[in-house]
Amino acid sequence: MTWSPKRRDVLAGLAGTAALPLLASPAIAKAQPKVVIVGGGFGGAATARFVKTYLPGASVTLIEPQACYTACPFSNLVIAGLRSLEAQQFGYEGLKAIGINVIGDRADDVDPAARTVTLGSGDTVSYDKLILSPGIDIRWGALEGYDESAASVMPHAWKAGPQTSLLRQQLEAMSDGGTVIMSVPTAPYRCPPGPYERASLIAHYLKTQKPASRLIILDAKDEFSKGPLFLEAWAEHYPDHLEWIGASDFGRVISVDPGAMALSTDFDTYEADVANVIPPQKAGEIAARVGVADQTGWCPIDPVDFSSTLQPNIYVIGDATIAAPMPKSAFSANLQAKLCALQIARELNGETPAPTILANTCYSYVTPDGAVSITGVYSNEGGQLSSIEGSGGLSPANPAPGVRAAEAAEAEAWFQQITQQTFG
């Protein structure tokens, strides 16, 4: 068939719609497996949509407790007062409309032998294939003093939603002349360049709205994602409003005291008017309960189809996985979702999944209308993900006029595309 704009709108976002017939060939279409997905974020919602696309005969169930998903990408703009939280929110009607069974509950446990998921309600759901995309959870207490109650005083805002709004409100309430402190952990954590994008946009807010205030980043690392580009942008745009202190200069925060609004390093104690603590993280808690997380707290996978190396018939994608050098990004989660869905469809069709090339692109705003990007291209051959030499890398330093603005426009287009592809 030819693609009328109308038809394309209906399917917009489903990858390679032009080639659906290739997938929906009779053999594959008649497979009727029970596929259950836990977590309706960037990874899980996309997996549900693509399994349904590749295996129209499958029963596809998505388990997600929240009626509305709040996206982290672009949430730093919300914190800086440049975007509404509503623009970050997506429901599951688009998934239900294509026949996905969405259960509004949390998965409490999994019995890999019986192949059942137990819900919060106590009900069980059985599966042939189970895909987990539970994102991250905070390792409460791993940073001394940072427990769940501390997060209501010193928000992490590393899961978008109420935490995002809280940090925004605190910045708004702070009087001019205040000090904002951000603490950043060592890798691995969700969205490696995310803290520095946030710092850029908070610095912009301070510069334009509270010019006597400043932001200090206390970092547990000496180098960070897109580092040279952020440092260049900060020197140009926020020399009086942003200071970054790396590990070698005693930037690593070793404890926090929410009562005193204090953050301590090996050398100093800093008092904050607003403290944004980005804490150490691990795979979403369900992963450890199911036995797909290892001692690192993250989930080892076979990078060809994202099957767990620890449990049969269970796949893990997204932030929860050990997939370095692929970063924990929405872009990665989306690609892993599609790849996992396609390989499951092929496997059910009797084919052996073959290695391929994967890629990632993440944009970060450095000003409200300028962004920088990092890209990576990866092979999943030989049982591991590895970067392909000579490819990937950062936006140019000292760019020609218009380059940062062009990447900001691309960032916005990417957000539109990926959210439409994921949520419909």
Binding site: M1, T2, A18, S25, K338, E351, I357, S391, G392, Q421
Partner: protein
């Protein structure tokens, strides 16, 4: 799965597009394959499957939702392949696509272009 159902895809258009793009450096070259010779080249089933897998990466950005990113559905195979190869080979290119395409071999670029522009039937 029966990718055999896919019609063979002419690459005559590719030759034409290449000739156009490269005219600056290949003028007077008379040994090039003529469109008629190339016309019957089809894409192997395996390449189509490879293209399908590779193309999963593309659709995270390029399926028409956002204005600032080109929509691959709007392109024909030859144009798409030439564009991707140009990104790969332009040494001083710094865009996201330049950085990405350097990681892909020419056969993979051909497979992706063929897959993404294959006529659907559904």
């Amino acid at each position: 799965m029966s990718p055999k159902a896919l019609k063979s895809i002419s690459i005559a258009a590719i030759s034409a597009a290449m000739a156009f793009t490269l005219s600056g450096c290949s003028a007077g070259d008379t040994t090039a394959e003529t469109p008629a010779q190339a016309a019957e080249t089809s894409v192997a089933d395996g390449d189509m499957l490879r293209g399908q897998t590779l193309a999963l990466t593309c659709s995270g950005c390029h399926a028409g939702a956002g204005d600032a990113i080109p929509d691959y559905y709007a392109l024909d195979r030859a144009t798409l392949e030439v564009r991707l190869l140009t990104y790969k080979t332009e040494e001083d290119g710094t865009t996201v696509m330049h950085r990405l395409m350097r990681g892909y071999g020419e056969a993979d670029i051909a497979a992706v272009a063929a897959y993404l522009t294959a006529p659907g039937e559904g």
